[in-house]
Amino acid sequence: MQTNVPGKNSGVQPAAAALGRDAGNGGCETLLPAAPRVTPTSFATPAFTFPQRGRWVKIREKIATVALCCATWAVLLCGFAILGTIAVKGAGTLFKTTPPFINMDFLTRAPETLHVFEDGGRTLEFGDQAFREFSASKRVEDPTWAPKNERSFVYSAGGIFPNIVGTLLLAAGSMAVALALGVSTAVYLNEYARQGRLVEIVRLAILNLAGVPSIVFGLFGYGMFVVFFGWNTSLMAGWFTLAFMVLPVVATAAEEALKAVPAGFREASFALGATRWQTLCKTVLPCAMPGILTSSILGVARVAGETAPIMFTAAYVLRDKLPWEVSRVADFFFQGVMALPYHIYVVSSKIPQNEYTERTQYGATLVFLLLVAAIAAASVILRGRLRRRRRW
């Protein structure tokens, strides 16, 4: 056994030398398996040269590089194509050439029906109200006046203000619910529960929630909150449905943040005669909060962007009243709202696509993208701020 080892080592020497010699004519591939056995002694021999890679190896490498590069470009191109189309087509709706350069009407008014008709040889486009006023004034002159070649397109005039408001309300409320539920769960699992099989199963179950498609959450929310709890299509139902959807994100983030709080803080607190609850409130949660917020803030973009969960639970196709126009405070929670992602779904699937409807379709989408991007950017900035403040 022992005598074998030096024999093996010395046997490498010629192989290594051969490697160096054969390298030039591309025959090195057959010898490659020998390479790992090259011992430090062979590096010491002055005649040693590093083998060239064979031609096929080089070609394969080249092909792989080019293919990967192409794939990356293809992805980039798709991204630009999608975002570019939306930006170009939507910009016409959202921006204008005269100050203040932003089409405030689009951001501050409710959706209306667009009426397109001919009058006096011109093609006119009016929103609901303008159309009514126009026809009224026409009928004063001529009681038999009727718009010629009138076509109307729902939601294609006015703006998307109620939708923006609804989306913000849904996102804020559902994050509040998700944080309350998620942080409580994480605190219980991490600080109170006895670590064991059961806790592991609960953790796994929470993680599995993350894999459930959002439409399933929508159906669950419909069955549970809308029908069974009798909340109808309402903010409350939407909040809870969306909250359940991001619960895994929030709970996992919270648990990570709690784990990152040094054990020394807890020990110090206990050693001073603090109870578990006091330690939690005065030390652990304040230390973990930045981490919890920064990680779960990414969930905000998700809840703001999902359509499926709110489709059956919270979103209205059209609602005249704004959310704060309620007679009782309780009504606020049990009203449905218009929401941006659902509005986009409606205008892009329920009405024809033509030059008149395109404006709202692309405009709403652009605003939606900007909104979600703004939320995501804000969260990234906030995350950086909070991270920098952390110092242990």
Binding site: F265, A271, L272
Partner: protein, 268 residues
């Protein structure tokens, strides 16, 4: 709860005849692992007792038994024996560990100030006891910082973060924090292991001062430190108490061969 506490383990000044802490035949397990075996030890009031011994011999474990910090470790339990402080068995069901820890303070090996201001660090223990009067708080914070010989260094920046202090100052801050709740007993687990000689000397000086009003138990790996600061020394080996007695006696004429080897640096 507070009745039992007041009746028994508080009032350190009039020392009862006999030791303040009485450990009897203690067996301690981490799950199935035995960490302490048949430890019997008396710790006198207003004295400094040093625990020495090689790493893993159970010094910290015993220290943490004294304020029931081990309750927080799942599976850790006392299998046999008892610990009495004054004449109260601290592991009895009627003893609230939270109340116990207010009377038995602890300083850790790694200084662990809270990520709060210096002032808030000291006030923490007082606030959780429901003390919110600003004047009393100010006064107690100053008193504790003075007792920990830190007041002069930080009096101008009480509102700055505790993390702005040096390592040695942080450790003294932790001592001040423990003193603020006015414990009778102070447990120190290798308080100087992360400090330089100057900071160590300051803490040792402090221990000297504090022993007039507190009963101190200190774990240390430094023989010099043990001989400098302690009145009594207990030597542990593999979970057993090998020898204990006056520090001078342990260091000059130990009764046990292993103690002699250890204090002379021949193993461990």
């Amino acid at each position: 709860m507070s009745e039992t506490r007041n009746a028994t383990i508080s009032e350190p000044a009039p020392v009862p005849a006999g030791p303040l802490i009485k450990i009897e035949n203690l067996d301690f397990h981490y799950g199935e692992r035995k960490a302490l075996e048949d430890v019997s030890l008396d710790i006198g009031a207003n004295r400094v007792t040093a625990f020495i011994g090689p790493s893993g011999c159970g010094k910290s474990t015993l220290l943490r038994c004294l304020n029931r910090m081990n309750d927080l470790i799942p599976g850790a339990c006392i299998r046999r024996g008892s610990i009495r402080i004054g004449d109260l068995n601290i592991n009895e069901g009627t003893v609230d560990p939270v109340e116990l820890r207010k009377r038995v303070g602890m300083v850790f090996q790694k200084s662990n100030p809270f990520p709060k201001s210096i002032y808030e660090n000291i006030a923490y223990g007082l606030r959780i006891q429901g003390l919110h009067d600003r004047h009393v708080l100010n006064w107690r914070v100053e008193e504790s910082l003075r007792a920990a010989a830190l007041w002069d260094e930080v009096k101008d920046r009480l509102e700055s973060s505790a993390f702005d202090l040096s390592g040695g100052q942080q450790q003294r801050l932790c001592i001040a924090r423990a003193l603020a709740v006015q414990p009778a007993i102070l447990l120190m687990d290798e308080p100087c292991s992360a400090l330089d000689p100057v900071a160590t000397a300051k803490i040792e000086e402090l221990v000297h001062e504090l022993k007039h009003s507190y009963t101190i138990v200190i774990v240390t790996h430094s023989m010099q430190q043990a001989s400098r600061v302690s009145d009594q020394t207990a030597f542990f080996y593999l979970g057993r108490l090998i020898e204990h007695g006056d520090t001078r006696q342990i260091f000059t004429q130990p009764a046990n061969k292993r103690t002699e080897d250890y204090v002379n640096g021949r193993f461990g």
